[in-house]
Symmetry: C2
Subunit: 483 residues, 2 copies
């Protein structure tokens, strides 16, 4: 064995003195980190969480706070939906690909009811009502939303539609409540948290990770982790250079979903000790067009005036398609009956009496939009959308005058975060370049590649962060002492 990248890892022989010793050391105290800490503590391990900011929460605390859960949760059942592990698995395998991590998908679906109970057990409450209108956090306290296009083509063909976006009981964004609850639960159990403390190097000893060197107010501190280190320090959307190297398409995004902590340090520390990465090019790209849902009676077109997706699907899929496949060229065309400015106050940039006038105003080629509207209307008159399979509930001919929303990155918020990272087992063990787990090293959350290889539904990131965070915490707590 031999190695080079000394800035991100250090050999134990070079550590003169350990300032503290713990069973399980968690790097980052956000969604994955709090869940991992709780789970490790539940197994009797002493746990220290290092957090570079002044408090717990990470990106999840700033988020909508949706957690993707199914298989027949009490909230789903109270809202009148049937679901099963098999049904949820079928949806996820279709929605999270291409080539989703099947072992994680299956574990996630199988673990979903248990994860719901675990969240409730930590203090999360749910208002068992569905908000049909949004794919994000409701204005009210509703606990359930359609957050992944489950009731839209093609997913309604492969699984029985069921909403699975679960939100803790509070109005608007719920991530802060989720994280407050989890962090308080962790601390109440005896998890120690060191804030303003930045992990900088993994300490390795004869092939195992045995601790971390961190900085706190300019002082270096070396911490020995007897059973394992769990990397839960987020993704890399805040690191432009890493994004340019791995996922340059995301540079076209206009908002970064995350915190400054999402600079990829956890991923790179893992790589410095020989960890494998996966799907580093992938990002979810939120494009929050709706509510109101009525807008999806319109058509979404690219810069050639062509439709490219069924408008009733999850808006994150629209955002990914627009940014990855359509060069960020995206417009929403509606008629008067469907028109109103959306929840962000974005309204029609252009309004014209005919499609021909509208395409001219928009700078599209003559006939491009006109033909698209003509073809759409021809089928819509029969309540059909044979090209993109929008549900007939939203399909009717568009009647001029027509308005167009400018949904290009300069005008609308494209909000990406990264989905690629370290490759882990279901238990959260980090795989080396040759595939075997690296002793003493665990990871979860956006530091890892989770269940999504590309496709996404709202709630899957905090969902897999917390569930696989728990699994990683338990695995680390039950790992052999190696330090």
């Amino acid at each position: 064995m031999g190695e080079i990248s000394g800035q991100l890892s250090v050999d134990r022989s070079e550590i003169d003195h350990f300032d503290s010793t713990i069973d399980v050391l968690v790097v980052g105290f956000g969604a994955a980190g709090t869940a991992a800490a709780i789970a490790a503590r539940e197994q009797g391990a002493s746990v220290l969480a290092l957090e570079r900011t002044g408090g717990a929460g990470g990106a999840a605390a700033l988020a909508e706070g949706i957690i993707y859960l199914g298989g027949g949760t009490p909230v789903q059942r109270a809202c009148g939906f049937e679901d099963s592990v098999e049904n949820m698995t079928a949806y996820l395998m279709a929605a999270c690909g291409p080539e989703p991590d099947e072992a994680k998908v299956v574990a996630y679906a199988e673990g979903s009811l248990g994860h719901f109970d675990w969240l409730v057990g930590r203090g999360i409450e749910y208002d068992a009502r569905l908000d049909e209108e949004t794919q994000m956090a409701p204005r009210g306290t509703h606990g359930l939303v359609w957050s992944g296009g489950e009731n839209a083509w093609p997913f309604n063909q492969v699984a029985t539609p069921a909403p699975r976006g679960h939100l803790a009981k509070t109005k608007n964004a719920t991530g802060w409540l989720l994280m407050q609850t989890l962090a308080e639960a962790a601390l109440a159990m005896g998890v120690e948290a060191a804030y303003d403390t930045r992990a900088e190097q993994l300490i390795v000893d004869d092939g195992s990770v045995v601790g971390v060197v961190a900085q706190r107010y300019g002082e270096r501190t070396a911490i020995l982790a007897r059973q394992g280190v769990i990397l839960t320090s987020g993704g890399f959307i805040w690191n432009d250079e890493m994004v340019r190297r791995h996922a340059p398409t995301l540079l076209k995004g206009t908002w970064k979903v995350g915190t400054e902590g999402d600079d990829g340090i956890g991923i790179e520390m893992g790589q410095a000790v020989g960890a494998r990465v996966k799907n580093m090019h992938v990002g979810e790209v939120s494009l929050p067009i709706i509510p109101p849902r009525n807008l999806i009676q319109g058509i979404i077109v690219n810069g050639h005036g062509q439709r490219f997706i069924n408008e009733d699907t999850y808006m994150g899929r629209v955002g990914q398609a627009a940014l990855y496949d359509q060069e960020g060229s995206c417009f929403l065309v509606v008629d008067e009956a469907a028109y109103e400015p959306n929840w962000m106050g974005i309204g029609a940039t252009w309004v014209c009496e005919t499609a021909a006038e509208l395409e001219a105003e928009m700078g599209l080629a003559p006939g491009a939009l006109e033909m698209t509207v003509e073809l759409y209307n021809r089928h819509a008159a029969n309540g059909q959308d044979p090209l993109f399979h929008k549900d007939q509930a939203w399909v009717r001919p568009l009647v001029p005058p027509l308005g167009a929303f400018d949904l290009r990155p300069g005008s609308a918020p494209y909000a990406p975060f990264t989905l690629g990272g370290l490759e882990t087992t279901v238990e959260g063990k980090v795989r080396s370049l040759t595939g075997e787990p690296i002793p003493g090293l665990f990871a979860a959350g956006r530091t890892t590649s989770g269940i999504c290889s590309f496709g996404y539904a709202s709630g899957l990131s905090i969902g897999d962060s917390t569930m696989f965070g728990r699994f990683a915490g338990a695995a680390a707590a039950n790992a052999q002492v190696n330090a």
Copy 2:
């Protein structure tokens, strides 16, 4: 410093005995490897090349053998084309993005004339005639082709069109001749080559790469490299698991461009000693529709009957767009005047009297293709293509009956190879995770991310392999002795 991944790297302290010592050790004896070996030898270094197969050549020996060169080569000038470093740079910055490696692009354009001379100096001859008909190797001995859509939109807007695909003087594929010439030149200069010898581990000593452990007929051999190791062992298209992890879209490809040696071992050996990778999701996807060039009078459409690219561009761009952005959904629709089976014998799967009948036969939605043909013809009647900007030389209304070629992956050859790999400097130094060069480690060719971050032109892979291979060889030969 500490490390883990012992299977791909080994500490010098664990090597009992070195079986041989050399100044510069080259891993892989293909396009990049032969160029690197020659350049290192030219600088006076002793050079040993390890090749896992029984002979020199690698993937390049099986390839068309185009090398992308410009700036006013003798072949370009003899064929009547003006070009300059600035013009070539402008094209490459537009064609190799998004976010191409500008330092490499500039160095490549600036080095292009010198590289032409270097190739001639090694024994490559050129027949200074242009073959207009193909973007690949001509049937004749022609030395020049349009290989990157330079004379098509949008590149004809950003640079003066000039063909830059150079081919050694022989009929059909020329890669074998190129590689035979370079390998013979290397051996004649005193480069040693060890065939049937598989590099398996990099040897590191106090932060530097100092050699390689290799296997030959089951025997391990440790080789000390006094000045450096150059990894030139190809990409990873032949490693399905790596492709699944990093570039799952390419799994839809039907041919693999490369050899079994393109299993990513060079990339992973680099990573094992802390190297950074870049653009691992990217692959060139050849879709060799033409010749005959007349076929581009037709229109290329996706499964929604929509056009998505100008048909007169480089077919590799069509292949990338079809596979990455259109889910492999791709058809070529032509009329009788443009029709003939292509060079591969692929003909129309469906022929119908009208577009409406044709779309029905193809399984497209009613009106989808009909509208597209109608819109295309409306503008084509004026010699225009305002949607996709096909050059007016190829634009005329399509006259039924119409035929459609099935160009989906099941029916047409999608031939990908990987473009992602280790991040290197222009000189071929391999960057660590934190950006600084790793002492003693160099790389070139498809083991690295070259000048293309996504977009590609034929000849850029062997082009950057040989040019940056030369640079890496020279840099290694001039490196400080560290072993």
